[in-house]
């Protein structure tokens, strides 16, 4: 009986192959499971060196088994085991320490500087829209409703009087819940959505981003024109300054990031479009994150600052000095290697 046993097993070479190596695979399986559950740092020195050795042996086994074995369950097992071990050995989670600091001190300012041209394009689109809206309002007041649209609860329209407009600009409420509401409604207001879309839709060939920012600029221009018409342009300027400098810049920044993505697809140069998109997205995303940061700051300024600080001078000074701070941040920071 034992002789026949020998004979059969000896006949199937791949079965012998498996019997000789199976113990090593099992060890590797356990090590990989431990790495997947507790991270590669949970391994001791011996275990780590075992992982490397057994991984190489399993890869070797796989290579041989692909040639000599017809046992499908064995092949599937080795494929899966090697793939998992590969991920454990070559693709461990990156060390995340210092990620935030590196982003704030080096990555973000450098990304903004390198995207300066695209961001300028964003500002240009908004300015163009602003001028258009402003001019259209003075050509015919009816344009205001077309551009801004008629929100039912907003009294600010072509029919509003000077006093009504002023009362909005200098309204004071100190209710905390209201301020929280203002903070929330800010983040949901038109502008944040515009910023998100301006970035994300940039990848769809730039055009949606341009239209969005242009249209947003038009609304702003029409608003400005309405207030200038009533002789309170400066007051609106102060009202907008305190958060608007930050907020509108954020929109233009995210539009710039969007343009950069769209530009990579439209004008990839010598690279393939896939490569261009991959490379340009590195900085574009950083700029978008900066824009997000600015939007949160703007929300704080609007939700709390605007209702608490009602003097025109203070509003202008705070708004523009915050703007200057952003510039200082972008200009600072070491150059990237």
């Amino acid at each position: 009986m034992s002789e026949t046993h020998e004979a059969t097993t000896a006949g199937v070479r791949s079965a012998r192959f498996r019997a000789e190596r199976e113990a090593g695979w099992k060890v590797l399986e356990q090590l990989v499971e431990q790495v997947e559950k507790h991270g590669i740092r949970s391994l001791g020195f011996r275990q780590a060196s075992d992982l490397a050795t057994h991984y190489r042996q399993a890869a070797n086994s796989l290579s041989v088994a692909r040639e000599i074995s017809l046992d499908r369950s064995l092949l599937a097992y080795l494929e899966a085991l090697t793939a998992r071990a590969y991920l454990a050995v070559y693709a461990p989670p990156e060390n995340l320490g210092g990620l935030g600091r590196r982003f704030l001190t080096v990555g973000a300012p450098a990304a903004v500087r390198s995207s300066a041209g695209w961001i300028l394009l964003g500002f240009l689109a908004m300015a163009l829209g602003g001028v258009t809206g402003y001019a259209l309002f003075f050509e015919n007041v009816a344009w205001f409703d077309v551009i801004v649209g008629q929100a039912s609860d907003d009294i600010r329209g072509p029919s509003a009087t000077r006093e009504e407009l002023l009362s909005i600009i200098y309204s004071e409420d100190v209710n905390v819940i209201d301020q929280l509401g203002a903070f929330a409604s800010f983040l949901f207001s038109n502008n944040v959505r515009v910023a998100i879309f301006a970035f994300a839709l940039g990848a769809f060939l730039c055009l949606p981003t341009f239209l969005l920012v242009f249209y947003n600029g038009m609304m702003l221009g029409a608003f400005m024109a309405l207030h200038v018409d009533r002789g309170i342009g400066l007051d609106l300027f102060g009202w907008l300054s305190i958060h608007g400098v930050t907020e509108l810049s954020a929109i233009c920044l995210s539009a710039g990031a969007g343009f950069r993505l769209g530009g990579a697809i439209l004008f990839p140069g010598r690279r393939t479009r896939r490569d261009a998109l991959y490379e340009e997205s590195r900085d574009a995303v950083k700029v978008a994150l900066v824009a997000a940061l600015m939007l949160v700051a703007a929300a704080l300024l609007e939700g709390f600052g605007r209702q608490l600080i009602t003097s025109l001078e203070a509003r202008v000074i705070i708004g523009w000095s915050v703007g200057a701070l952003w510039i200082v941040w972008f200009a600072s920071g070491r150059r990237r290697r």
Partner: protein
């Protein structure tokens, strides 16, 4: 033979992306320094959508808890509640995906449940950049279109078309590339794979069948089948290791087994009758013998894909011949 032959040979036939043969069944290969290609199966859109839905439900649970606390603890008014809830969802959405994928190396809770994982396209570690990009773009590719879709009927016809075009182009990107990468994946240099599950079944050839000395096969009897038939038999035998509990299923299994035995005996001209109680032993003995034979042939450089290998060899001879 004629002048036209080289022309048709050189001319490249144009294939449209949707006419090409589906290549997703072919796994992605990464060649590590060891030189043995490691294969991953790209996760399809279905399983990824399922993981996405699980994740959305999970984050919505958090939002609901947040709103419940606000409503009960602070007695916040309804309109504020809704806007704060929506804000909270916006605020935790992208960070949830980014943080889980960074900490768990490419897995969110939904992906864990569906056993899929984000990996880097270059085969190295996932970078924070890649994770952040793919999840920020998720806003533009998944959430924004989805939310817009909910309010689609309030829009004018023109905008409805724009939104549908937008959704169509966002969906088209993953369908048009081999790795099913959406725009965010392309930008971040990532793609999603099935996490392979390593289950080692017992080797059918390791323990000899109890009737091995009675069921002996001659080499000419083993020349009929190829690897495909062998592996199909292997799958059947592995299934038979766990006999079904239902009597109906067990009867069906016995019938299948009898049919297989009959077919094999007819095909290979096996002279002796096999009584029903020896069917399983016969199949196992045949499996061992056939595998040994085919692996032997393979070592000598002759891979037999399936039972048509003989016909294929004949055709090869006919083509190479004069």
């Amino acid at each position: 033979m004629t002048a036209r032959a080289p022309e048709t040979g050189v001319r490249k036939k144009r294939t449209w992306p949707w006419r090409r043969k589906p290549r997703s069944s072919k796994p992605e290969e990464i060649v590590p320094p060891e030189g043995v290609p490691v294969r991953f199966t790209v996760a399809g859109l279905g399983v990824r959508t399922a993981a996405q839905i699980i994740d959305i439900l999970l984050t919505l649970v958090f939002v609901a808890a947040f709103m419940a606390i606000l409503a009960l603890g602070f007695e916040a008014p309804g309109s504020l509640l809704v806007s704060l809830g929506a804000l909270f969802w916006l605020g935790i959405r992208a960070p949830y995906y980014i943080i889980t994928e960074l900490l768990w190396n490419g897995e969110t809770l939904g992906k864990r449940m569906m056993k899929i994982r984000v990996v880097s396209a270059d085969g190295r570690s996932l970078t924070p950049h890649g994770v952040i990009v793919r999840n920020l773009m998720k806003e533009a590719e998944v959430f924004a279109p989805g939310i817009t879709l909910l309010v689609l009927q309030d829009m004018s016809g023109f905008w409805q078309i724009v939104v549908l075009l937008w959704i169509a182009s966002a969906m088209a990107v993953p369908l048009l590339n081999r790795r099913r990468q959406r725009l965010g994946d392309l930008m971040g240099g990532t793609y999603v794979v099935h996490l392979p599950e390593a289950v080692l079944l017992p080797d059918l050839a390791a323990s000899p069948a109890p009737t091995a000395e009675r069921h002996v096969f001659q080499p000419h009897q083993l020349n009929h089948y190829g690897a495909f038939e062998l592996q199909t038999l292997e799958a059947f035998l592995h299934n038979a290791d766990t006999p079904p509990t239902e009597p109906v299923a067990s009867i069906r299994q016995r019938e299948t087994r009898a049919a297989i035995v009959d077919n094999i005996r007819k095909k290979i001209d096996y002279p002796d009758a096999v009584p029903p109680h020896e069917h399983d032993a016969f199949l196992r003995a045949f499996y061992v013998a056939q595998r040994a034979h085919l692996e032997q042939r393979q070592l000598f450089g002759e891979r037999r894909i399936d039972k048509h290998h003989a016909a294929g060899a004949d055709r090869q001879v006919a083509e190479d011949g004069p």
